[in-house]
């Protein structure tokens, strides 16, 4: 080293080489040739500082937490609960506390990338311009080949419920008429049921749970999926309320109850009807309410007396008669008494009907419109935004599906159509329908806020559907199962990197989501992607897309508000939300005026609308799906504690906290199958199979095995390999399509 410089003189390297080297390096990074100025640097402008921002958790969750994001010199350093949010009260959940770890994860999608060929794992980074050019050209090409943009399909749902994310729908609408996945896999049967009964999909203020004296959590595992609600349940208990949990699984919520009923899965309607029969027999029903506010009471009473007995209910539900009596009397003699209906219990072929039967109890006891009473399911009353980001017009002269048409085109073209509309496919039978579509077929698929490859039924068929496409684009945060099957992945911002506004389908609070940090890497929000793609489309073919080509996200938040919302939330200007979240000013008991939205204006035990849609007019019992002989075990795959669908579980912090999925098996079943705790178990049926480590426990019933859905990092684990796309009984009216009977999933198991 000492004679370094002497030897350097004689170094066999010429100035030319060095100049060339400098130039090559420069070319590769826009370094200006050999000059010393670092091209990617400038002079400092900002001072280092610590700021905090109001954000809102946009995940598909009851609680939709208000958050405070603390940012140091542009880096997200901590995320905590917003103490001014009245429902979540300054607390997050196990998932929420991983947000820094998640947002700063080196595993995130960073740049637009292309996979050649699809599924090869052979990825290459491309610029946004390249990506958008490929996409725009494909759209224009399809439009040219098929005369419309119907071959372009969008599958988007609940990965992010921020209102500005409806920009994705707006983006496609502004290119013409397109094909999109219609429906929701989540809660539709219950929504229709609520709608048949009450006429409007709305529920009481969940904070009034604290006022009830008797609470039935019916298929509701709030301890895992609505954790902040537990505080109101606790308050009710402290004031002497009795809490009952009805669930096939002995959940963490069930462990909080005074009484737990382990019901046979999907027989909830029978239990409700049994209770109803006992209530009527014992004259505990509210005749005044029934006469004044209920349609179809005589018919329903007749049905109860004719068809329903406690013995039948007991036999059907697996709950002893005295148990049903205790439940019925507790519910009918305590006032106010409330029922909270979970979403898992309606993911069945008789799910909607079961919800109607449970609702009937609230009508029977005349507790609808009573604070701390009624039957709660969910609402959308606080969602009255402008959906400005979504409501865009197709370019003039765009062709689509003739008005009145539907996915099958059965009714299409009955009379010479003058107008056109979009084409829908059933989100809950997406794989099959997307492949079945003809004239025009679907050739391009855009996935946003969704991970169908791990969340849709029949995962194998989803792969086939993807394979039948000319181009698949996935916009997401991580390379999840769906993104792995894409041609192009687009990196999207987390809610800390973009503006938005969020409300809940459960509580009544609204939170602004301020942009806390700059988008990391080359991530763009769905709205920014819409602007950019529109720009590209118009560049390639002027007028081919009506979507604005640029804008200011914060201002676009403002564009979502209207007088109605301001009035509802008692604010005069949306920027007030930066000071604190706002709460919708509605009566705690939403039906206090007993004016129902049904055709009759009454609560409808007898619904012509239901009859018209080929359903039983009354909440009569529809038998649950029985296990086929060759697959005698019910396989339940409910929502997880450590993630939300396929989100969160892949993050380092979560992988350490919950490293692998387990299959919960009752000791009796395990013994019969020769399975010991920790064994690897093969769970299979005709559709597919998965292998899981066994956990022997009595929290599950003997005829059922349970694991919890999730996407684990570097894992192929997928709970939907054995799930068939069997429709639930309701959902079409309010959400466009019936739900999925996710929990009518039957398998056999063996030691692997």
């Amino acid at each position: 080293m000492k004679d370094l410089f002497e030897r350097a003189i004689g170094a066999k390297i010429s100035r030319r080489t060095l100049l060339k080297a400098g130039a090559v390096a420069g070319a590769a990074t826009a370094l200006s040739g050999c000059t010393s100025e670092p091209s990617r640097f400038t002079s400092p402008v900002v001072e280092s500082n610590v700021k905090s921002f109001r954000t809102a958790c946009p995940r598909n969750c009851y609680d939709t937490c208000g958050q405070i994001a603390t940012v140091e010199d542009g880096a997200l350093r901590s995320v905590n609960g917003d103490p001014l949010h009245g429902y979540t009260q300054g607390r997050l959940c196990v998932k929420g506390y991983t947000y820094v770890n998640r947002t700063n994860s080196p595993d995130r999608l960073k740049y637009p990338m292309i996979q050649e060929p699809r599924g090869s794992g052979n990825w290459r980074r491309i610029s946004w311009d390249e990506a958008l050019t490929i996409i725009a050209k494909k759209i224009l090409d399809l439009k040219q080949r098929y005369g419309s943009t119907l071959p372009v399909a969008l599958d988007k749902y609940s990965g992010n419920f921020g209102i500005l994310h409806y920009a994705v729908e707006g983006m496609f609408q502004s290119m013409g008429y397109y094909t999109y996945a219609l429906g929701t896999p989540c809660w539709p049967a219950g929504i229709d049921a609520t709608n048949y009964d009450f006429g409007v999909f709305q529920c009481d203020d969940p904070e009034s749970i604290a006022q009830t004296k008797y609470l039935i959590l019916w298929g509701q595992n709030a301890a895992w999926s609505a954790v902040h609600s537990m505080d109101f349940i606790r308050q009710a208990k402290e004031k002497g309320a009795k809490v009952v949990v009805i669930d096939p699984i002995n959940t963490a919520t069930a462990s909080q109850a005074d009484v737990y009923y382990q019901i046979k899965t999907s027989t909830d309607g029978a239990l409700a009807l049994g209770m109803a029969r006992w209530i009527v027999d014992n004259n505990l029903h509210d005749k005044a309410f029934l006469d004044k506010h209920v349609k179809g009471w005589p018919e329903f009473e007749a049905y109860l007396k004719r068809e329903v007995t406690l013995e039948w209910a007991s036999k059907t539900t697996g709950i002893p008669v005295d148990g049903i009596i205790e439940l019925a009397s507790g519910y009918a003699t305590t006032r106010p008494s409330m029922i909270w209906i979970g979403y898992g219990m309606q993911r069945h072929t008789n799910g909607g009907q079961n919800v109607r039967a449970i609702d009937a109890l609230a009508a029977l006891t005349g507790q609808i419109g009573v604070v701390g009473g009624s039957a709660q399911y969910g609402h959308l009353v606080t969602w009255g935004f402008n959906y400005h980001a979504m409501s865009m017009q197709p370019p003039a002269g765009s062709k689509g599906l003739p008005q009145g048409g539907d996915a099958q085109g059965l009714h299409g073209g009955a009379s010479a159509p003058l107008t056109y509309t979009n084409r829908t496919v059933n989100m809950n039978n997406f794989a099959a329908e997307i492949q079945a579509l003809k004239d025009p077929p679907v050739k391009m698929l855009w996935i946003a806020c969704r991970n169908p490859a791990s969340q849709d039924p029949d995962a194998a068929d989803i792969k086939r559907a993807f394979a039948s496409m000319e181009l698949v684009v996935v916009a997401d945060h991580f390379l999840n199962h769906s993104a792995q099957l894409a041609d192009i992945v687009l990196p999207v911002t987390t809610h800390f990197e973009n503006w938005d506004v969020n409300v809940s389908y459960w509580h009544r609070w609204m939170s602004i989501n301020e942009q806390a940090i700059k988008p990391m890497f080359e991530t763009k929000s769905d709205l920014q992607i819409a602007w950019a793609l529109s720009k590209k489309m118009n560049e390639l073919s002027p007028g081919s897309c009506t979507y604005p080509t640029e804008g200011n996200e914060e201002e676009w938040v403002g564009k979502e508000f209207n007088e109605g919302i301001y009035k509802l939330f008692g604010i005069s200007e949306w920027r007030e939300l930066k000071q604190k979240p706002a709460k919708a000013q509605l009566p705690a008991a939403i039906w206090e005026d007993r004016k129902f939205g049904t055709p009759s204006g009454k609560y409808e035990l007898y619904s012509e609308a239901a009859a018209k849609n080929g359903l039983p007019p009354m909440p009569t019992y529809v038998g649950e799906m029985v296990a086929p002989a060759e697959f005698p075990i019910r396989f339940l795959t409910p929502h997880p504690q450590h993630g939300l669908h396929s989100q969160f579980q892949n993050v380092d912090y979560m992988m350490q906290t919950n490293s692998e999925p387990l299959l919960e098996i009752h000791p009796r079943l395990a013994e019969r199958k020769g399975i010991k705790d920790g064994d690897i178990v093969r769970v299979f049926n005709k559709l597919g199979e998965l292998r899981l480590k066994a956990r022997i426990t009595r929290v599950v019933p003997p005829d059922t095995v349970v694991t919890y859905e999730a996407w684990y990092k570097d894992s192929k684990f997928n709970v939907n390999l054995t799930v068939a796309a069997i429709p639930a009984d309701m959902g079409k009216v309010m959400t466009g399509n019936n739900g999925i009977a996710f929990h009518d999933n039957f398998v056999d198991i063996e030691r692997a």
């Binding site: 905590n80 929420g96 505080d231 002995n250 963490a252 009484v259 380092d652 912090y653 009595r698």
Partner: protein
């Protein structure tokens, strides 16, 4: 002798095992993924009434801290308010405290090659806030208490599934779970 003694009260009857406390702690102190100062673990299943009950445990700032007794470099000390603190600078990573703590509160960090543990958010307390874990509990099942001033008639020193408290006299009290009545399909 400390003038007062801070500790935890964990109401198992209210705890839903949501792990918000465990993760809030990691979030607050940006811990390594595989280091937990607080852990939530399931109580062994009661065959009579299988329930999901949990214990949430961190450092119990014991009367007789084993970590303090065994530490060869005298890194551990007990503050006036009873908080057991560790002088991280002194630690040489012998791991004896991680073996000696009956609750595994002291964790060895492969990255820092030292042990560390919960210090009851002493800086937050000094700033007039409560601990990160207590602030996060959606059930108010975990509380910060001044020992001796805890007024819960049901509070007990130990519960099944919790290590022998005679070893160090941990400053944690529990409210045991009340089993729900169960109508089960396997009974």
């Amino acid at each position: 002798m400390p003038t007062k003694q801070l500790g935890f009260h964990h109401n198992i009857d209210l705890c839903i095992g949501c792990k918000a406390c465990q993760m809030a702690c990691k979030n607050e102190y940006e811990l390594e993924a595989d280091v937990n100062w607080r852990r939530v673990y399931p109580v062994r299943e009661n065959p009579a009434a299988p329930e999901r009950n949990f214990i949430s445990v961190a450092c119990n700032h014991c009367e007789n801290p084993e970590c303090k007794r065994v530490c060869p470099v005298g890194a551990y000390s007990k503050r006036e308010d009873g908080i057991v603190v560790q002088d991280h600078g002194k630690c040489i990573g012998c791991r004896l405290c991680t073996m000696a703590c009956p609750y595994g509160a002291a964790r060895y960090s492969p990255k820092h090659r030292k042990a560390s543990k919960c210090e009851l958010c002493k800086d937050r307390l000094d700033a007039g806030q409560t601990t990160a874990c207590v602030a996060a509990c959606p059930q108010s099942a975990l509380k910060l208490v001044e020992m001796g001033k805890l007024n819960d008639p049901r509070a007990v020193v130990s519960v099944p599934g919790f290590p022998d408290s005679d070893i160090t006299h941990p400053n944690i009290r529990f409210t045991p779970p009340v089993s729900s009545r169960q109508f089960r399909r396997d009974s």
